[in-house]
Symmetry: C3
Subunit: 431 residues, 3 copies
Amino acid sequence: MDMKRTVKKANNDAARRLYAPYAEAEWGFLNHWYPARFAGEVPEGSAVGVQICGVPIVLRRSKGKVYALKDQCLHRGVKLSAKPMCLTEDTITCWYHGFTFSIETGELVSIVAAPDDEIIGTTGIPTYPVEEVNGIVFVFVKSDDWEDEIPPLAQDLPIRFPDNNERFPHPFWPDTPSMLDKDAVALGVHRTGYANWRLACENGFDAGHLLIHKDCTIVQAKDWAVPLGIKPLTDQATQLIEDEDGPKGFINMYFTDNYEPVLVNERLNVKASGSVPKYFRTSMFLPGVLMVENWPEENVVQYEWYVPITDDTYEYWEVLVKRCPTEEDVKGFEYRFKNFYEPMALHGFNDCDLFARDAMQNFYADGAGWADEQLGDMDYSIITWRKVASRYNRGIAKKPRGVSGVVKGASNVLAEIRGPGCGHYRDKKGE
Amino acid sequence: MDMKRTVKKANNDAARRLYAPYAEAEWGFLNHWYPARFAGEVPEGSAVGVQICGVPIVLRRSKGKVYALKDQCLHRGVKLSAKPMCLTEDTITCWYHGFTFSIETGELVSIVAAPDDEIIGTTGIPTYPVEEVNGIVFVFVKSDDWEDEIPPLAQDLPIRFPDNNERFPHPFWPDTPSMLDKDAVALGVHRTGYANWRLACENGFDAGHLLIHKDCTIVQAKDWAVPLGIKPLTDQATQLIEDEDGPKGFINMYFTDNYEPVLVNERLNVKASGSVPKYFRTSMFLPGVLMVENWPEENVVQYEWYVPITDDTYEYWEVLVKRCPTEEDVKGFEYRFKNFYEPMALHGFNDCDLFARDAMQNFYADGAGWADEQLGDMDYSIITWRKVASRYNRGIAKKPRGVSGVVKGASNVLAEIRGPGCGHYRDKKGE
Amino acid sequence: MDMKRTVKKANNDAARRLYAPYAEAEWGFLNHWYPARFAGEVPEGSAVGVQICGVPIVLRRSKGKVYALKDQCLHRGVKLSAKPMCLTEDTITCWYHGFTFSIETGELVSIVAAPDDEIIGTTGIPTYPVEEVNGIVFVFVKSDDWEDEIPPLAQDLPIRFPDNNERFPHPFWPDTPSMLDKDAVALGVHRTGYANWRLACENGFDAGHLLIHKDCTIVQAKDWAVPLGIKPLTDQATQLIEDEDGPKGFINMYFTDNYEPVLVNERLNVKASGSVPKYFRTSMFLPGVLMVENWPEENVVQYEWYVPITDDTYEYWEVLVKRCPTEEDVKGFEYRFKNFYEPMALHGFNDCDLFARDAMQNFYADGAGWADEQLGDMDYSIITWRKVASRYNRGIAKKPRGVSGVVKGASNVLAEIRGPGCGHYRDKKGE
């Protein structure tokens, strides 16, 4: 099958119709599992606010377990997390008027200042399922009308090895560890990026963007042989993963006959450099989680999430996972994480990706990019992602109301920036 | 009468229709008296710009008296206050092209550069009535089509004592002083808050928000007995004030049989703390002025204004008034203001209110809060306020045109924040 | 002819219809020559991004010559200039995926990672004609549908002397030099102003705004006799320049019988001050370039451009031109530029103009100013400009799509300003 014709076809009007749901999902996909915070960011007794797909969520840890509730008091709409107040172990209280909710059910169980109010027991706020795995707090960001069973976290994580060894062989590296492995240790960082979450996703597995990484210190230090590009040769290059009860996504079959590295560009007189082969493979799953196998080094895997906050911000998660059967293994991984992986891979290498995603935002923010982009052969996996995401997402988040990031401008912004002083709440005194 | 049923009823559709004018008043109420600046902020010969209800206003003091004019030159629309120019004692001149207006009438009396222009004498800018009382410059923010007499300032200030002693007895504290008392001294501060003015108003007299103050240093230092809440028992708890020629508003009849302090919440296992009784009472008047009697201490009253600037900013005024018959009394009040009231009450205590108001803004900014809020028993006074404000306001400010705060975003904001340098008007030089 | 009646008539409905195209040109006029950067800002091998009339443009200098292309990759829309990559002397490469364009034609000549992609050679990005004159890189900002010949740069520059001596005599100063003179040297600065470009234009030649300059240090130091205003007496005061193949604009015939200086304003009791006569003359040309003859000193001319970036930002160019036949003349001009002209004229004097233009922005930003402004006698030249600009512009820039400055607000602005820290891309680490 001729790839070029595939691509041409892939982004035509018929294809656009196929990924129309994705094009509409400015605020993300609901009814999926997302990482919300590292476990260490939600200490016992705390109440921490996050926003995912436009849904404000407060995380509260009580007796070791993390609970998630809508971070918007039903009374006057303030965030419970704005000034955390926890009067009992089984509740969270709004700091403003004392509306108190069961952290288990979200039910309004009391009001500090009005213990007899008849509203008590008749209403409440939504709660969200939580799973804490290997130091990461995952939340199932549920729409209000979701009535099905909650799918297991594993359905929203990358496929696992060695279970999939036969289907997706990896002759050049050992079995990829998984977040869900018993002795797995996950270490990482997250930070806010300033682009739509979809632009972030599409950067992650993009086979055509190796160019932005060729000058990275880690590439130079390791003398990795980074090709100019990786060219899909057959329609098996990108393989769909759509098992009924498993994660939905696709895998790029690098280092097989389906792909060919591009080593020379004669017209531009450039050649791939580096002499040490660097084997790796990317796959991508709903709701937006990337797996890079054999990365940055052997026996380590890099996961990335691009979690929608608003329509123009996302939380960028980079997590490295390694199996560490002994305490010494754990310490060794932590040491290498701190002194090598974090500065040179998660930052040095991936900061270029952060830059690239934000650089696309102007083109797509007003819709122009979605209409005018001109995709090429190398973008076959992007079209694949858009279609698979359109087919298997469990719900499109609508533009929310009444939460942070909906109203974009504010009267005071320029004044604050430009004024002689920049203080917040500056006083003017009388005589 | 059962309060609970009253509240339920209070925020139903019929009630919402009754306070629809208030719900529309995003930019405030026109044709009312508002504090614009402290007297000391408008020294002789100065021209100071403020914005109230979206109306730009320039205050000019000449021969001791303060005049107020529209702060927008009729020629090219710049603010007269942007670069004050006063060539004669009875005029203010636009610094740009010299359009010169009578400070008394607003008439265009000359143009510096074109003394013979036939436009002179045929046009002008609006002026606004000014009253300077006890160190505060009040402006009557008039709509262009207001043709009635200007109501006295007293109609837009709280009711006075001892005149109202019989009607609203206060057995636990001495007569409340008034801004208008002959020997009254007013001391205070004002600052900008980042929320709609109505959210600020509704925090002021809110009987249910004592919770946010319980940890304040002043409460702890004084060991004040602050209840968990104050529960209305009868429909006399909140009494309307709607005398024909007087201020319009309502009073919360705390420390009467109409209210009951909530001292214990058994479900949450919390009790009111503090051992020293603290008596006070709140009342609220058009266009948005709060009176807290017997506060922060005996013989002192606290006034608060929430003056609309735009639809998402307001000027928060806190003013303490005390009768000081002798110069020594004045000095004593000033000393206590500086060393106790200002740091521990106006800031320590009320900073929590500022935080709370701004915390509501996201919920209400796009209209969601007005539709989705869920009020309870404790909010009876809020519904009362919305209705009385709807009934007695003298005009709803429309969204203005051509003034600061209407166009919310600007092209350069992110660039300025994120750019390598943040200077305004940075040069790029040629060779 | 009575000037007053002329002005009255000039801004009536009929006149507004005549300058309707100007009123629509929020984003500027296309198909004109604009200064983009000083030559020294585009060194050999660099790729520098600018935005003009909403069109992102990348300037690349190769083998001494500057080329201009659309600064938006056709693939995913990023700016080529965001991270310049130039692999060959005749191309520019997108840093993201390696799309490579001929700098001469804009044709897609290769893709680094996909040298065989069939899209190559079939598409490309627009290019723009460039002229580099006397240290300034000019770009002809072409609309996509422009098919006519490219007019010479001289048609978008001020008229020249001595060619126009007879038509526009200047008995009080020597022949004005021109940017296009063989031995001319141009020195200047440019910086971003925060207003619509038309407000900036209208300040440049405005005969009524001398008032803002009367206190400038240069005026005081030189003891220049600056009148209060300059009053047009006849309809020859402002003369149209509309030769078929020449620049289109007008000239203010100061220091002729058509104008009278206003020296006294009796009503306001002010007199012009200064004792040294200061002769000068302003003229203005499409697409928005001002010439101030005999300014700041003899044998020097000041050019100013107000180049639209977005609808609320413009690049303000100030350039002084002098004929310098010898190397010593050049050094002398550079010395005086650095130590006198730049600090006291381009800054000290013209900073007042920058302030004035931005002060108009609020009034005009939402359209209010265009409807409500009240022009007077002194504004005859402004009406003239609007009409001539409407008649002779070569195309109105539409609101663009997919570029910087179109989407005005962003979710994160307030958070960044107000947050406890203001860092960009702050990390949150796991355990």
